[in-house]
């Protein structure tokens, strides 16, 4: 089993979740 690949996929997914969180607040802040 390739641990490094599993961790990279997890990191990408985690960063995606963080980007949605920050991006959503920033976007709404901008449109208001």
């Amino acid at each position: 089993v390739n641990t490094r690949s599993a961790k990279s996929v997890a990191l990408v997914l985690g960063l995606f979740a963080l980007a949605v969180y920050v991006g959503y607040i920033a976007w709404i802040g901008l449109i208001l």
Binding site: K7, Y21, I28
Partner: protein
């Protein structure tokens, strides 16, 4: 993987060598084994069923007869709010996360989850978050009382509890996001040789799709509640009209999370039903590929229907039409699923053990909840039904005989695999019939109450609603106490009973039935080859 799996191994043996309560606690706190963590999730969920259930019984006791029976209306509102939050985030989601932990590695032939330490953290955030949430009931000003939807400006009137509620929601969301990441990575990276995506059991498929939904929806909820926090404490006005914001904006954000959340809860139940029905019909699942595509379609549609929860805010006609039609289209892939389950039963060699009974009740009663959902999707009708007991009846039909019955079916189906013993079939059937009858006694009259005009989230009502409310309360207490039987059956099964074979049932399909019962602590350290 090699280092993490070795750590999990060490922890377990460490626990076995030392006797005593501290060692026992440490074994469960530090475990990285997917079966241990699955068990922790399931036990936690069962405990929360009784915490949330006690709140439900308080609500039904208050509503049994007209007039104010206990305390004050403000406490009643706290009960409806915290009951919902506990049941959604503390009970039903962890129940399916427990099955995911136990079964996904077994079903795809993996030795464990891909990230065992993250898995441990995902679980252990939960008890603290749930404790924090329940503790807010004792704060100055009480717990949150504006409903689980946390709409501003009402929720901003919460006392000292507000930041703690928001922190608890953040922790619950973090736990879900980490579990979702772990599930996606496990399914994408750890499948045994030959286990192609379209050979995976339906339960694994539904969880893969659910995990992506979690990843899309939970950060949006986190963003929404963070904005509530800054509105209350840091002078922003995201949701305050006086400062240029808009309270309706929060409703959009909440339901952009909230509607996928409904499917996050129900899709794993679909997966369990898709495992149970073929086993007890002794036939392969009808239309496997169409089940996968239907699940993916439901997940996609769940992201574009959110404003059907807010038809009464006054949105443009185009918006109403869009959200009404997309909502109705969900009936198509859902219909495909119900058709496939029914077609699996067709000419099958049926037997009616408890998991099958719960699956069949699910089939009838979830469909009933789905139909009332279609009624609510019709804009002019929804303007009448909105915020009435009809809505309460609808979502309890999809969540209780829907999602919860899915979890019960799964519990009885895999309990012999988990414990190594057969459960007491006679008592389990009693549990089924008591629950299936009382769930209808509780929630069916609520349709009539709603259609007759009884609003939701009120502690008192006009006397014309008295009869159906009393019937509903009698049903609720019967259902609540029947769950003690479930606990007894589980304890009895853990402590002993007829020895379960590896296959347990006549014709089960899937790799989990190739390992002994109880499933050994470590399985598939050498991956099986799937043909």
């Amino acid at each position: 993987m090699s280092s993490t799996a070795a750590d999990a191994h060490d922890h377990t043996h460490h626990g076995h060598e030392h006797k005593g309560f501290v060692a026992w606690c440490l074994r469960w706190i530090t475990t990285t084994n997917h079966k241990d963590i699955g068990t922790l999730y399931l036990m936690f969920s069962l405990a929360m069923l009784f915490v949330g259930g006690a709140m439900a019984l308080y609500i039904r006791a208050e509503l049994a007869v007209p007039g104010i029976q206990f305390q004050n209306p403000h406490f009643f509102n706290q009960m409806t709010t915290v009951h919902a939050l506990v049941m959604v985030f503390g009970m039903i989601m962890p129940a399916f996360a427990g099955f995911a932990n136990w079964l996904i590695p077994l079903m795809i032939g993996a030795p464990d989850m891909a990230l065992p330490r993250l898995n441990n953290w995902s679980f252990w955030l939960l008890p603290f978050a749930a404790a924090l949430l329940v503790m807010t009931l004792f704060f100055d000003g009480g717990g949150p009382a504006g409903g689980w939807t946390l709409y501003p400006p009402l929720v901003l009137q919460t006392g000292d509890a507000l930041p703690f509620v928001i922190f608890a929601v953040h922790l619950l969301g973090m736990s879900s996001i980490m579990a979702a990441i772990n599930i996606i990575v496990t399914i994408m990276n750890l499948r045994a040789p030959g286990m192609t995506l379209l050979k995976m059991p339906l339960f694994v498929w539904t969880w893969l799709i659910t995990a992506y939904l979690l990843l899309l929806a939970m950060p949006v909820l986190a963003g929404g509640v963070t904005m509530l926090l800054t509105d209350r404490f840091f002078g922003t006005s995201f949701f305050e009209a006086a400062g240029g914001g808009d309270p309706v904006l929060f409703q959009h954000i909440f339901w952009f999370f909230g509607h996928p959340e409904v499917y996050i809860i129900i899709l794993p139940a679909f997966g369990i039903i898709s495992e149970v029905i073929p086993t007890f019909a002794r036939k392969p699942l009808f239309g496997y590929a169409s089940m996968v595509y239907a699940t993916a379609s439901i997940a996609f549609l769940s992201l574009i229907v959110w404003a059907h929860h807010m038809f009464t805010v006054g949105m443009p006609l185009g918006g109403q039409l869009f959200f009404m039609l997309t909502t109705m289209i969900i009936a198509v892939p859902t219909g495909v699923k119900v058709f496939n389950w029914t077609a699996t039963l067709w000419k099958g060699s049926l037997s009616f053990e408890t998991p099958m009974l719960f699956a069949l009740a699910f089939l009838f009663l979830f469909t009933l909840g789905g139909f009332s959902g279609l009624m609510l999707a019709i804009v002019p009708a929804d303007i009448q039904y909105h915020d009435s007991y009809f809505v309460v009846a609808h979502f309890h039909y999809v969540l209780v005989p829907g999602a919860l019955f899915g979890a019960f079916a799964g519990a009885y189906y895999w309990l012999p695999k988990m414990t190594g013993h057969m459960y007491d079939e006679r008592l389990a059937k009693w549990h089924f019939w008591l629950t299936a009858i009382s769930v209808n006694v509780t929630f069916f009259p609520q349709h009539f109450l709603g259609l007759a005009g009884m609003p939701r989230r009120i502690p008192d009502y006009a006397t014309q609603f008295a009869d159906f409310n009393l019937v509903s309360s009698i049903g609720a207490f019967t259902m609540g106490f029947s769950q003690l039987l479930f606990v007894y059956v589980i304890i009895k099964c853990i402590r002993g009973g007829p020895k379960a074979t590896a296959k347990v049932w006549d014709e089960p399909r899937g790799l989990e039935w190739t390992v002994p019962s109880p499933a050994p602590h470590h399985t598939f350290e050498t991956p099986p080859v799937v043909k």
